[in-house]
Assembly symmetry: C2
Homo-oligomer: 208 residues x 2
């Protein structure tokens, strides 16, 4: 106990448990994630996690919350483009790759079984908020909510189909990489968004 | 046995079991779906299902296959419009409503855990094929595969977010119905698809 206190203080144990839990999740799925295994991975006694988590569900919720934060950071990082449509594409690619690289976490965050935190209302602090802000700069106000919802649905659907192995095989040739497919799909969507500013029409039309 | 033979012949028992299984699935989720319960529901002995299904997984696969057929029929039925973009919207709405009305079946068809049949390659016999055919009539050839994939991702993502309760609450006012939301989201997407025939640009631009 005193060793644990020395190694983990000021919330460090909580962080260490969540970090360990994330690794367990990716290695063995949600079944592998127990408070006991997290304790072992963090090098503390089996009882130590109970200081921070009442049960496995509480740990899962914390893990999902960390996942939302990671996804938000990833979208924010991807969104560093000067061109607004390109920024939207990069966000979409980042979303799909997040799911592709961390499928168990993605399922935990968005799957049905968990009583995880719902996607929070749009604010700059959430992944949805980062997407909404980018869309808001692109489309007329009347279509912003619909366009944000559509953009989210698009990448979420592609992510789910990818993670669950439900993509149809390509009509010919090799299947594109996940990144290439995500880039094409989000590129087509972004090009088709109604442009802000009236009669300029859609992005791609303008570009022709 | 002789009663069963009288009641079910020429594959009728198989159909009855799948029909019963579909009802069990919607009532109690995949856990409620056992060969024993299906037998009870169909009014046959507990051993009778084994004539058609080796185990629960085989029954689940048959149920999912029936789900794909139902989804295909629903998309085909929805796609009866003279306006091609409107037909695409109706297909999308039908897809989302299918998931909304039959969430357990939808999860079985597209969720990860089941070793269910994958979405088959595009052919007129599949839901994907019906979508692909409609998209093919709308967009230039070079963009068809991407546009079909994008359309599928869009409605699949909206369906998943709906079924899993992950839709963000509306910024203001009441949440739209599932149908209204699906109509808006697919409408925005369809309007933004690149139009076939060169420089006419995108659908909505043309309409302005």
């Amino acid at each position: 106990m005193s060793t644990e206190k020395a190694a983990y203080h000021h919330g460090n144990l909580r962080e260490a448990l969540v970090r360990t839990a994330l690794a367990l999740l990716e290695d063995g799925g949600v079944e592998a994630l127990t408070l006991r295994a997290a304790a072992r991975g963090a090098g503390v006694s089996a009882m130590a996690p109970y200081r921070h988590f009442a049960d496995k569900a509480a740990l899962l919720t914390a893990v999902a919350a960390q996942g939302y934060a990671d996804l938000r950071d990833r979208l924010a990082h991807a969104d560093g483009q000067t061109d607004a449509r390109q920024a939207l594409v990069e966000q979409g690619v980042a979303y799909v790759l997040f799911a592709y690289e961390r499928p168990a976490l993605f399922r935990l965050m968005f799957g049905a079984p968990l009583a995880a935190p719902k996607v929070a209302p749009a604010s700059a602090d959430t992944a949805y908020g980062i997407l909404a802000a980018r869309v808001a700069g692109l489309v007329p106000e009347a279509e912003r909510e619909t366009a944000t919802m559509a953009a989210w649905s698009l990448v979420h659907g592609l992510a789910c189909l990818t993670v669950d192995g439900r993509l149809p095989p390509p009509a010919q040739g090799n299947a594109p990489t996940t990144e290439a497919l995500a880039r094409r799909v989000t590129g087509l969507f972004a090009a088709g968004l109604p442009a802000d500013g009236g009669d300029a029409g859609r992005g791609r039309s303008r570009g022709r």
